[in-house]
Symmetry: C2
Subunit: 239 residues, 2 copies
């Protein structure tokens, strides 16, 4: 595979930056969130939430879909929906179980650390661009102990615009003093991560993506500067 | 020591309830909070907060005193005070360290479980009255796995009045269908827990208290229905 057109960092004035998405790019968010939710539901039902476990799990998933994953009162809404009013004991049980399981499972993808070390050894500066909450995203980097690799975490919460808006990419470039021609975005979502970055003048690399055949054709036809690799462990093939 | 005038539960219509405060009554909140704060400060200073550790610790204590312990952005204010703006990485480091240490240390006082089992064996119904946040207090009971002992957690957050206001005691009695003459409050604070309960017509037991000589004289002089014992392990001497 051809190496991208990024340049190595040669001195402090260098304007190359590798930007990363967090969830499902650096770490396997979806799998651990599902396991954690199931564990929480199990304990809530065992302690009196009057639904069967599957019903309760799908109801919770609906609530998360409706309220968004950054909302922090999913379990409150769940008990209120089922019981007519919030049950703080069940909410506490759900939240604690969810958090305990989530943090027990939280791991970077295999090769995440190797890849971050490789990129630093190549002289790149690293930052995060995420549609999440700033402190929550730092929290994941801290818990995984990969935070020292990253200079900045730029989030939709702070900027006021979400990926794929060019505005969040422009703000990230400004904060990192990056030249878009020398910067790349690595993420798992075609629209948010790859198209968004390309529209801001950067290159993009898709990892763990469910990119469709139609999207692949579009990349080829429009000559979009987007590379598709399996996972973060293959970044060294293209950078 | 003379037993209090409470009655054993004989059937479901019984109106005896033993109410508990949580922090520094059932569990040693003050000690673990201090240790957790110091650990958080240490990591924040090691990662760039430009203060020495003692300065930073006392600044954090001032902020907690000013904002109250139920405020959830102490570390945000700390970094903003020191740096002129919030540093989300340091906030995340501080919060995670604080929570990890706190939950690692969270333990009931010795004999808390024995005492709760004893009280249930005597037929008492148990509940909590706390000046805290409802979910946070349930969270502590859940983490300590003593939540099955308690029928209700009544908090100032829900009721809108804090101990020692008689209103929070009256609401607790109403919710538990308790007869004040047959109910007792167990807590560590003379004013909030003991005087508050007595003013609502209940008995009170002080544990782990820093009750002063003046307060002891007042109890005697005004014949207040307040017993003073060392800790929760001695509850079976008076109930």
């Amino acid at each position: 595979m051809k190496k991208l057109r990024l340049m190595r960092k040669t001195d402090k004035a260098d304007e190359s930056v590798v930007f990363f998405d967090v969830d499902d790019t650096l770490l396997d968010t979806s799998t651990f969130a599902e396991t954690a939710r199931k564990a929480a539901i199990e304990l809530m039902v065992d302690n009196g939430l009057p639904l069967d476990k599957d019903e309760a799990y799908y109801l919770l998933k609906d609530i998360i879909k409706e309220k968004g994953s950054n909302y922090d009162r999913h379990f409150n809404v769940l008990t209120k929906t089922v019981l007519g009013k919030e049950d703080p004991m069940l909410v506490a049980l759900g939240m604690i179980t969810y958090h305990n399981v989530k943090f027990a499972l939280l791991r970077p993808f295999p090769k995440t650390d190797d890849t971050l070390i490789y990129l630093k050894s190549q002289g790149y500066r690293l930052a995060v661009i995420s549609n999440g909450l700033t402190i929550k995203q730092w929290e994941k980097l801290v818990r995984l102990n990969i935070y020292p690799f990253f200079d900045e975490v730029i989030t939709s919460e702070e900027v006021g615009f979400s990926k794929p808006s060019p505005k969040i990419y422009q703000e990230a470039l400004r904060r990192m003093k990056g030249d878009p021609d020398k910067c790349v975005m690595i993420g798992n979502k075609f629209k948010e991560d790859a198209l968004g970055a390309v529209n801001a003048g950067m290159s993009a690399i898709l990892v763990n993506s469910n990119v469709t055949e139609r999207e692949k054709i579009r990349i080829k036809k429009e000559k979009l500067d987007i590379k598709i690799i399996e996972d973060i462990g293959q970044v060294n093939r293209v950078l």
